[in-house]
Amino acid sequence: MRPAYCGIADLRTGQTRIETLPQSLEDGRFGFGALRELWQACPEITVLSAGMLTGTGAPGSGGMLWSYRSGGRIRHCAGQGRLAAALRWCGLDHLVILGVSGASHSVDVVVTDNRITLRRQVRQRSAFASRVYAAVRQMSPGETGVIAVPDSKGILEDQCFPIGSRAAAQALRRIGVRSVTVCGTGGIDIACPEEYLTLCSALWKAEREKNTDHGEAARPAAYLSAEPCPPREAFSAGADAPLKDAGRALAAAMGIYPARMGPAVEPETLRALAAAYLGEEVTVSQLERAAGYLTEYGEEAALRERESTGI
């Protein structure tokens, strides 16, 4: 299995780099496990992770996972949108933001093909998300760039889609990240494209028959959505709960997270898609181990934190 590509932006030094992390299906970590060392090395770390199938064309494959430290714990929040898909088209699976920017300035993180740039901006405490979005859009490297801005209600993508909870947005604001822009022109190789395409087409057909209400321009749908959408004005970025159960963790780890369809996509469906994507046999238990790892690690980190603080 190919390694996970991890873009690291260090706000303390202003430097960026790209590292490869070992990942295997066997240990069920999809690169999340390899991030553990970074979690332990840096007290202030925020990670945007894309799932294995994110951006590959299956219905609902815009899944992503925000991991951040809050109240001494590592918390995960799953969301769905174009941002993580664009990240994978940039050639990255994880975007790791280390440290906190200075008190006088905030940072725009810009990710293009295999490259991360940090742009320092004078910090404005009362900057509205819409104004930030307009300013960042002016500097966007391409028309198709995806821009995420932490708002008071949550992380908003392109001013339309909530892709992270209020707590995740607060975590980004606390470290001084004003926006994350991703513009990728690369692609994702699929081992058995014909088989994968057949599976996707069948899923899309079934979804169209099951759900006829997929939104329209005034009611935007999440990226590669397989779910009905509420009107834009009714969106609440804080509504999508943080990762609560193994089902959601499984969906997020695989990159399929249709939040309003239920707790998880059918494991058998995910298994078939993963097998066609990787070109090797995948079992449901391997996938479930990945989901278990994410939830267990959150608990384990909390326990360690409690032990160290003695609370």
Binding site: A85, T185, E207, A217, A221, L224
Partner: protein, 154 residues
């Protein structure tokens, strides 16, 4: 002859057409090289860049190797002979000409031989495969409804 038409009022910007097109044509999920691409910021002002098979194609006039021609109203190209000068891409008013890095040639939508996949997967039904006259009649009707609604057409 039918062409691909997009109803912008229905398009939710989900991107299914782009990714499935690249998966079908390239064997990899690569939105930037799909032959139909969604342009614009978010879903506001979103439009699909896809070959409209113009009656008088600018790309055909611009092609330096004259490998672009019309067949039964469709614009087709002999892409193995393309030497990627990009004249067609620059002249296309729809920005619908895409560079295919695998073939090292510029490509446009070939309508999947008359059975476009993007239409099948479009969750909102915004993409349609229909006669240009029918599509423009629909657009005229939609415009008239909007204009009447705003107090126009008096």
């Amino acid at each position: 002859m039918k062409i691909l038409c997009l109803d912008r009022a229905k398009c939710s910007g989900c991107g299914a057409c782009e990714v499935l097109c690249s998966l079908h044509k390239r064997g990899r999920a690569q939105s930037a090289e799909a032959r139909i691409r969604l342009k614009g910021a978010g879903t506001q002002g979103q439009y699909a860049a896809v070959c409209q098979h113009c009656a008088e194609p600018a790309c055909m006039a611009a092609c330096l190797k004259t490998i672009i021609r019309q067949e039964n109203g469709r614009v087709v190209r002999d892409f193995p002979s393309c030497f990627a000068c990009s004249a067609c891409a620059v002249s296309c008013p729809m920005d619908a000409v895409v560079y295919d890095s695998r073939e090292d040639a510029y490509m446009t939508c070939d309508l999947c031989g008359g059975d476009p996949l993007c239409v099948k997967v479009c969750p909102t039904g915004a993409l349609r495969y229909e006669e240009p006259a029918l599509a423009s009649a629909g657009l005229r009707a939609a415009y008239a409804r909007t204009a009447v609604g705003k107090g126009g057409l008096r």
